[in-house]
Amino acid sequence: MKRIGVFVCGCGINIAKTVDVKKVVEEIGHYPGVVYATDYQYMCSDPGQKMIQEAIEREHLDGIIVAACSPTLHEFTFRRASEAVGLNPYQCEIANIREQCSWVHQDKEIATAKAIKITKSIIEKERLNDSLSPISVFMTRRALVIGGGIAGIQAALDIADSGYEVILVEKEPSIGGHMAQLSETFPTLDCSQCILTPKMVEISHHPKIKLLAYSEVVNVGGYVGNFNVKILKKPRYVKEDLCNNCGECFKVCPVVVPNEFERGLGSRYAIYIPFPQAVPSICTIDADACLGLFPLACNKCKEVCEPNAVDYDMKPEIIEETVGAIVVATGYDLLPSEELKEYGNGRNPDIIDGLHFERLLSASGPTQGVIRRPSDGKVPKEVVFVQCAGSRDPEKHLPYCSKFCCMYTAKHALLYKHRVPDGQPYIFYIDVRTAGKGYEEFYHRVSEQEGVVYLRGKVSKIFQDGDGLMVWGVDTLTGKKVEITADMVVLATGAVPAEGSKKLFANLKLACDENGFLSEAHPKLRPVESLTPGFFLAGAAQGPRDIPETVAQAGGAASKVIGMFSQEMLLHDPIVAVVDENLCSGCKICISACPYDAREFDEEKNIVRVNELLCEGCGACVAACPSGATQQQNITDDQIREMVKVVLGE
C-alpha cells in the first residue's frame, strides 16, 4: 500500500477560522495508508513547502495530499516542490478545503467534518494515481496571424522581429483594418495613417513575414505546435508580381461602384486599390462589378496594362501551411445602422456612423477633409452625436459598453469644431467613460473649452423634418425633453465581432463569450491566450478596445508566441483520455463527443484511439464511452467510485 502524507493548511485564518485543522490532522492520521499528517499556517510559504519536502524524504512517502486552497492556485507549487525531492508530481494532490469548505460554511463542526471527508476522498484518488510524465511535442516555429488590423500587424512584426517566420492572413485586399480609416486618433490627435502606414510598409518588406492579403483561413487541423492550415487565396484577377500600381487601369474602367473603404461615401472603379497607401500595393478586380470577367464584355484594363498583370482567368488558390501558433486578430465591425430602427433604420443619408465621420474628417477622404453632409454636400451647422447607439442596451441591442465611443465622439466633436468653427456640436451620452492615460484631460478640454454641448440622456427618435433632422431626446439632468433640429447626426454605433468571425471561430473551435467576442483563458491572469492551446488573442476580436490597448495586447500575444517558440520542446499535460484496446468495440460514440477532434478511428483494429496531443483531458469521451474502455488518466471510474464512497460514508 502506498505510504501517504497529508499536509493540512490553515491559510492564516482563511481555513482555520471555520475548520478545526488540528482535528482534521488527528482524524486523517488514523486513516488507512496515511503514515504522516500535520498542519501548518501557510503550506504555500517556503517553510511550508520545505516541511513537505522533508517529510517526503524522511517518511519515504509515495504520495501526498495538501489540504488547502483550490488546485488552480497552488497545485503547481506543491507538485514542483514534490518533484524537487524525487516524488512524481502526479502523486501530489490537492484537497480543496478552502473554496469548497471553509469559505462556504460558518458552523465549525460541520465544516470540519466536511474537510475530513474531502481530504479522505482525495486520499482515495491518490491511492490509485499513476506516476506520469508530460508528453513531449515537436513544434513548428512559425506563426500564423489572422487579421491584418493594427493588432495583427503589431503581433506579426513583434514575432518576426525576434526571428520567427510569420504568415499574415488578411481577408481584405489591403491590411490596415479600421485604423487605416481613421482620421486622427485620440487623445493626442496624431494622424492615424501617418503612424500606421510605416508599420504596413514594414510588413510588406519584412523578410520573415509572408503576407497573404485577400485571403481567408478555411481550415485548421492538428494541434498546438503543429497546426495544418488551409488558406484560400481569393483571385484578384491581377498578377501580384507584375502589377506596379501605375493607375492606368482606373482611367479606362467604365464601372463605378461605392468604395467600401470610404464606407460608401466615395466611389471606386471595378478595378481598384482601396486607398493609396494600401499594402500590398496591388490592384484588385471586383468580380461582382467587373464586366470583363463573365462574360467577356470589356477588357479595357487588360488592354492598357503595361506590365500585362490583368488575368481574367485567375482561379482561387488553396495554400497549405504548417504553423506552431496562431494569433487571432480579426477585430470588430460596427453594428449596422439598419438595426437601429429608432434612429432611421440606416436609410437616411444624413444619419451616419462614426466611421463615416472619420472618412469625412480625413484629408484623403471623399471630401478631402471638408465636413459635408452626404445628402446634399452642405456643410452641417448643427451636428448631433449620439453615444451608446446600440451599446449598453440589453433589451434591444448590445448589453455591453463598446468602450472606445466616448473617446472618439469627443474627438469627433472637437475635430468638427475645428473644421466648422461656427458649427454647433451636441453630444447625447449616458455616461462619459474616459479611463485612459490623458483621456479625462482630453474630455475636459472638449466639454469645457471647445463649445461642445454635452447632454446627459438618451435620444428616443430621429426623423427627417423638412431640410433637417429632428432629434428627440431627454436631458436627464434637467428632466426636460430636448428637441434639436440638426443638419446631420453621427451615431456612435456599438462594436460587434467582425463579420464572418462567428464562422471562423467555430471552425477554429475557439470559445467565445455570449456576444461573440473571443474568450480568454483567464480574464485576469491569462488575458491574451485562448483556452485552446496554441491560440493567442489580439485586439478588438476579444472585445472592443482602442489602439493603445490593442497594441499592448498584440505585443503580449506576440511575446507569448515567442516564449513558446523559444522552448526546446512543447510539453503536453499527461492527464488525457486513454483507451483500453481490449475493451473498445469501435462504436464511435466518443468521436461525436470529443470537442477537440482528438478521437481517431483505427479501421484495422476496429477501435477508436486518442490522439494525446490533441486531447485536452476534458473527459467528455470518458463519460460518453459506453463500454468503459476509455478512462481519464488519474481520474478513472474506479477512482471516482472510491471517492464517492468515502464522501457518502459507505
Binding site: 462504436c587 463519460a623 468503459g628
Partner: protein
C-alpha cells in the same frame, strides 16, 4: 473417471434458461457422457428432499438460473450453495436480477395490488391476497413469502461464476460446460461464457459518428439492415452490453436489449447508457432535448431492463 455431479435449478425465472441448456444440441450427449444430472426440475423428477439429503459439497456444479424473489428462492439458493462445489449464476436473472428485477420499481404491496386487484381481468371483491399460511380442514397450507425486493443470486449467497444472457446462447453454454468438464476454470467471480468487448464488436452493421435527432420505436420503421440501429434512432443497448451473444437480435433487425449485462469496466449499465446517449443527442435547446428524450417511453425499462437489482440503483426507495 467418475462422472461430475451436476444440478440445475430455476428460481424466479421464466424457464427459458433451463431449456437453453438444450440449445447446445447434440453436444448434450457429450455432456451426459461426462456428467450425472442430480437435479433438473424442468426435465427430471427429483424432489427438494433429495437435495437436502445429499452430503454438503457433493454436487460438483450447480447452474442456478432465476432471481431471488421469494423465501423459497432464497432457501434453495442457500441449499445449493451448501451442497455444491461450484455455483454458477446462469442467465441474466441469477446474474443481474433480470426482467423480474424490474419489479424493484415497486414493492410487494404494489405488485399484489396490481395482480389481485386492479388488472382489468381480475375480479376479487373479497380482496383475497396470498398468505404464507392458510388453515384448511386438512391442516395448514404454506406458500413461500413474496419479498419486497428482487435480489441477484450473488446478493444472496456466494457465487463462483456468472453466465450472462437471456438466455445464454447454446454455444457459450457449451464453452462453459466444456471448461468445467475439463476442469479448466477461470478465476473465481469471473463472468464466463461472454466476451470482454461490447455487442458493437460483433455487430456487422457499419458504424459512423453518432448524432441523434429523434428516437423511434422499432415497430414503427423498417430499418436499414446495414447501418447501426442507434444511428437510425432506434435505441439499441449494444454499445453498453457485453458481447458474446453473436449480436443475434441485431442481425434480425431488432435492437439489442442489453441482456448480456454491462461490459467488464462498467459498473452500472443503465447509467452508462444515459451518459452515452446524453453525449450524442444532437440538440442545443433544453426544450428540444426534452422532446427527443420523451421519445423514449420507459427509460428504466429500456436502460435497466435486465439489471436493476444489480445496478447502483437497485430499487426504488421504500418509505
Amino acid at each position: 473417471m467418475a462422472k461430475l455431479k451436476v444440478a440445475l435449478y430455476w428460481a424466479a425465472s421464466c424457464g427459458g434458461c433451463e431449456i437453453s441448456i438444450l440449445d447446445i444440441g447434440a453436444k448434450i450427449l457429450d455432456f451426459v457422457a461426462g456428467a450425472e444430472i442430480v437435479f433438473w426440475p424442468c426435465a427430471m423428477d427429483f424432489k427438494y428432499h433429495h437435495v437436502e439429503a445429499m452430503p454438503d459439497g457433493s454436487i460438483d456444479l450447480t447452474l442456478f438460473n432465476g432471481a431471488i424473489r421469494t423465501s423459497e428462492n432464497e432457501y434453495m439458493a442457500k441449499l445449493f450453495r451448501r451442497k455444491s462445489k461450484v455455483l454458477v449464476a446462469y442467465g441474466s436473472c441469477a446474474y443481474e436480477g433480470g426482467i423480474p428485477g424490474l419489479a424493484n420499481v415497486t414493492d410487494r404491496e404494489g405488485i399484489f395490488k396490481r395482480v389481485y386487484d386492479t388488472t382489468p381481468s381480475t375480479k376479487n371483491p373479497k380482496g383475497i391476497r396470498p398468505q404464507t399460511k392458510t388453515k384448511v380442514p386438512e391442516g395448514e397450507l404454506r406458500l413461500p413469502e413474496f419479498y419486497d425486493t428482487v435480489k441477484t443470486l450473488a446478493q444472496t449467497v456466494d457465487v463462483d461464476y456468472f453466465v450472462p444472457g437471456c438466455p445464454p446462447t447454446g454455444e457459450r453454454t457449451w464453452e462453459v460446460l466444456e471448461a468445467i468438464l475439463g476442469n479448466n476454470l477461470p478465476e473465481k467471480g469471473s463472468v464466463v461464457g461472454a466476451g470482454q468487448k461490447t455487442v458493437c464488436d460483433e455487430c456487422p452493421r457499419t458504424k459512423n459518428e453518432k448524432k441523434i435527432k429523434a428516437f423511434v420505436r422499432p415497430h414503427l420503421v423498417i430499418p436499414d439492415p446495414d447501418v447501426c440501429l442507434l444511428e437510425q434512432g432506434i435505441f439499441c443497448a449494444g454499445f453498453a452490453t457485453r458481447d458474446g451473444c453473436g449480436a443475434q437480435c441485431i442481425q434480425v433487425n431488432m435492437p439489442c436489449r442489453g441482456c448480456y449485462g454491462p461490459p467488464p469496466k462498467v459498473i452500472d449499465q443503465g447509467a452508462k447508457i444515459v451518459s452515452a446517449l446524453g453525449s450524442i443527442i444532437d440538440a442545443e435547446e433544453p426544450e428540444e432535448i426534452n422532446r427527443i428524450l420523451d421519445q423514449i417511453p420507459n427509460p428504466i425499462g429500456y436502460f435497466y431492463r435486465f439489471g436493476l437489482p444489480y445496478s447502483i440503483l437497485r430499487r426504488r426507495v421504500i418509505k
